[in-house]
C-alpha cells in the first residue's frame, strides 16, 4: 500500500442537468402519466384493441338503435311469419347492381303444414339507404322516420328472417342489445359500489369487521349463483312494470357478484394502509373515508376496473339465462334472452333455425369482454 493513486479533480464545470438530460423519447416515457402508460401498454395487445373497438361499436349502436334497425320494435308483418333470411345480393342475371333483395313468395305446404318461402328471381328490389321508413319514437321521446337502411319500396328486408309473429329478427336483435348490454353495466355498478364499500371497511378497519366480512364473502362465494338468481327474480312481484322488472333484475345480478371485488379491495387495502403516506394522512387528522378514497383507492383503481370488466359477461349471461328460463325480463321488453326463450321449442328451431341468431351476439360480446378485460388487466400495472 505504498504506491498512492494520483488525486484527480476534474476542472470542467459540473452541470447536473447536462448529465441527467434525457432524450426526447426517454422524457416522453418517464414523464408520462400512469393512464398514458396504461394506454401504451394496452395498445400492444392487438386482440384486446379489436375487442375494445367491437364493444365500443356495440354500445354506440345502443344509443342510436332506432336509426340502425331496419324495422321499428313493434312492427309485425303478418304476411311473413317465420320467413327465412333474405340475403343481400349484388348480381342480377350476371350484372352488378346496387344492393338488392329478391321478394319472397309464400306457399303453405299442405302435407307438413310448413310455411314454404321461395325467392322471386325475376324482380330485384333495390334497398334504400338513409331513408324514411317505419315510424318510431327515438328513446321513447321524439318521433322520427329516418333509418340508415330500409326495406325496398313495397318489399321486405328480413336479413335474419322473422319470428312467429312476423317480426324482423335483426331489428329485434338491435333493440335487444340496448337491454342486454346495459344490464351488465348497471349490475356491475351495483356490485362495484357494494364491493368497494364493504371490502374497504373490512380492509381498513380489520378486526371483527374484517372477520365478519370474510365469513360472509366465503359463504356467498360457495353458493351456486344461478339457482339463487332464479329464486330472487321469481320473487319480483308480477305487478311490476317492465322497467321496474329490468332494474330489479340488474340489482339482483349485482347483489351476488360483489364478494370477489370485496376480497380484492380488502387484500390491497390491508397492505396499503401500512404505507407511510397513509400514516401521515391519519396523523394529520384525515377521516378514514377520506384516506380510503383519496389516498388508497387510486392505487388499485385500474385493477378494479379490469376485474370489473371481466365480470360483466357473467352478468350478461345471467340475464340471458334468466330471461331464457322465463324468470327474468318478460315481453314486451326485448332482450337477447327473451328472444332465445322463443327458441326453446326445439322442433320449431329445427324448422326455423334462424331463431337461434341471438346466440351469436351473446357469444361474440362475451368473448370480446374476455379479451378486452385480459388486455386491461395486463395494462393495469404499467410499471411491470
Amino acid at each position: 500500500m505504498t504506491a498512492t493513486m494520483p488525486h484527480f479533480v476534474s476542472k470542467a464545470p459540473f452541470a447536473p442537468e447536462a448529465v441527467e438530460a434525457m432524450s426526447a423519447a426517454q422524457e416522453r416515457y418517464y414523464l408520462a402519466s400512469q393512464w398514458r402508460l396504461m394506454w401504451w401498454k394496452f395498445k400492444r395487445h392487438r386482440l384486446a384493441v379489436i375487442a375494445g373497438v367491437l364493444l365500443l361499436a356495440s354500445y354506440g349502436s345502443t344509443l342510436v338503435t332506432e336509426l340502425v334497425a331496419p324495422y321499428a320494435l313493434g312492427s309485425r308483418n303478418t304476411d311473413f311469419i317465420f320467413a327465412p333470411p333474405q340475403p343481400i345480393r349484388l348480381f342480377h342475371e350476371g350484372r352488378l347492381q346496387t344492393p338488392f333483395v329478391y321478394p319472397l313468395r309464400y306457399k303453405l305446404d299442405m302435407e307438413t303444414l310448413k310455411r314454404d318461402y321461395s325467392e322471386d328471381r325475376s324482380r330485384p328490389q333495390r334497398l334504400r339507404f338513409f331513408c324514411s321508413g317505419d315510424k318510431y319514437r327515438f328513446w321513447g321521446l321524439v318521433e322520427g322516420r329516418f333509418h340508415v337502411i330500409c326495406p325496398p319500396e313495397g318489399g321486405t328486408l328480413f336479413l335474419f328472417g322473422t319470428d312467429r309473429l312476423g317480426r324482423d329478427v335483426l331489428s329485434r336483435l338491435v333493440y335487444g342489445a340496448r337491454i342486454s348490454l346495459t344490464v351488465g353495466l348497471i349490475g356491475i355498478a351495483v356490485s362495484f359500489l357494494l364491493g368497494i364499500s364493504i371490502g374497504g371497511m373490512a380492509g381498513y378497519f380489520g378486526g371483527w369487521i374484517d372477520a365478519c366480512v370474510q365469513r360472509v364473502t366465503e359463504i356467498l362465494r360457495s353458493l351456486p349463483v344461478l339457482p339463487i338468481w332464479m329464486a330472487l327474480s321469481a320473487a319480483l312481484p308480477v305487478t311490476w312494470s317492465p322497467v321496474l322488472v329490468y332494474f330489479g333484475i340488474t340489482i339482483i345480478l349485482g347483489l351476488l357478484d360483489w364478494p370477489g371485488l370485496a376480497r380484492a379491495v380488502r387484500s390491497k387495502l390491508l397492505a396499503l394502509r401500512e404505507e407511510d403516506y397513509a400514516l401521515a394522512a391519519r396523523l394529520m387528522g384525515a377521516r378514514p373515508s377520506h384516506i380510503i378514497r383519496k389516498h388508497l383507492l387510486p392505487n388499485f383503481m385500474s385493477h378494479l376496473i379490469a376485474s370489473a370488466t371481466l365480470s360483466i359477461p357473467g352478468m350478461i349471461l345471467g340475464e340471458t339465462a334468466l330471461s331464457f328460463l322465463g324468470l327474468g325480463l318478460r315481453p314486451p321488453i326485448t332482450s337477447w334472452g327473451v328472444m332465445l326463450a322463443e327458441a326453446q321449442n326445439i322442433e320449431a328451431v329445427a324448422l326455423y333455425p334462424w331463431l337461434l341468431w341471438p346466440m351469436v351476439p351473446v357469444i361474440v360480446i362475451v368473448l370480446a369482454f374476455n379479451f378486452f378485460g385480459d388486455g386491461l388487466r395486463d395494462a393495469a400495472d404499467p410499471y411491470h
Partner: protein
Amino acid sequence: MISFLLRRLATMVLTLLVISVLVFAIIQLPEGDYLSTYIADLEAQGESVDPAKIEALRQRYGLDRPLYEQYGVWVLGLAQGDLGYSFEHDKPVSDVVGDRLWLSLILNLITVMFVYVVSFPIGVYSATNKYSIADYGFTLVGFLGIAIPNFLLALIMLYFANVWFGTSIGGLMDPKFIDEPWSWAKLLSVLEHLWVPVLVIGLSGTAGMIRRLRANLLDELNKQYVVTGRAKGLPEGRLLRKYPLRMALNPFISDIGSLLPEIVSGSVIVSAVMSLPTTGPMLLDSLQSQDMYLAGSFLMFLALLTVVGMFLSDVLLAVLDPRIRLEGGVRR
C-alpha cells in the same frame, strides 16, 4: 389432523345454518303465500272459497305462525330429513322429489370427475409442450368453452341431434325405465344418456381448469430447481413427476371452490333446457308457482352439494399438503 377436521366440520355446519336462513328469507320474499295465490286462482275461476277451510289449511301448514317459528320448524324438519310439504302437488316434498336428488347428485359428481379426468392430462400436456399445435388447439377450444354458455350449448346439441339424427337427446334414461324401480339395466341406461349433459355442463369448467393448470405448471417449470434437476441429469418424466407436478396439483384441487358452484349452477339450467329428471326443471316450476317448501329444499340441496364438496376438497388438500394440516388455515 383431527382438530383440523373438527374445526372444518364446525365451519361447514355454521355455513349451512347461515345458508338456510338465507334460503328461507328468499323463499319468503314473494308477497303472500301459496294459499293466497291459490285462493286468488279459485276466485278468478268464479268458485267460492270457504274461509273456515282456508283457515284450517293455514293452520295445518303453520302459515299463521310468526316467521321465526316457521323457520325453526322448517330447519328442524330438514335436519331430520323431513323436507316439508309441497302445496302444488299436495304431497310431502320427499315424495314429489323422488329420485331427482340422487340423479342430480350423480350428474354433478360425474361432471366433476369428468372435468378433472379430462383437464389433468391436457393441462400437463399443454404446459410441457407449450406453443405446440395441440396447445394452440386446446387454447382455442378452451376459449370457446368459456364463451359459449352451457345452456346455449345444450340448445345447439339438441338442435343438431334433431337435425342430424332426428332424435331427441333430452332425458336421462330410456323412456321404458321411467317410474321403474332401480335395477342394473336402468343404471346402465342412465350412464348411456349421461354423457351429453356431462359434456355440456363440464365444458366451460374443463376449459378453465386446463388454463389454470397450464399456468400453474408453467410457473413451476420456470423455477430454478427444475433447471438444477435437469442439469443433474434427471430424466424429463421423472423430473416432472417428482416436483413441479406436485406443486401445481395443489391449486388444481383447491380450485374446486370455484368449479363446484359453477357446475351446480350449470346443471340446473342445462337440466331445465334438456328436461332431465333432476332438480333443475322442478326447481324452475316450484319457483314459478311459489311452492315454497319444494323450492326451499331444492335450494338447500344445491347449496349442500357445493358446501360438502368444498369440505371434502379441503380434507383432500390437507391430506396432500402438510402445511395446511399443520397451520390449520385453509388456502384458497
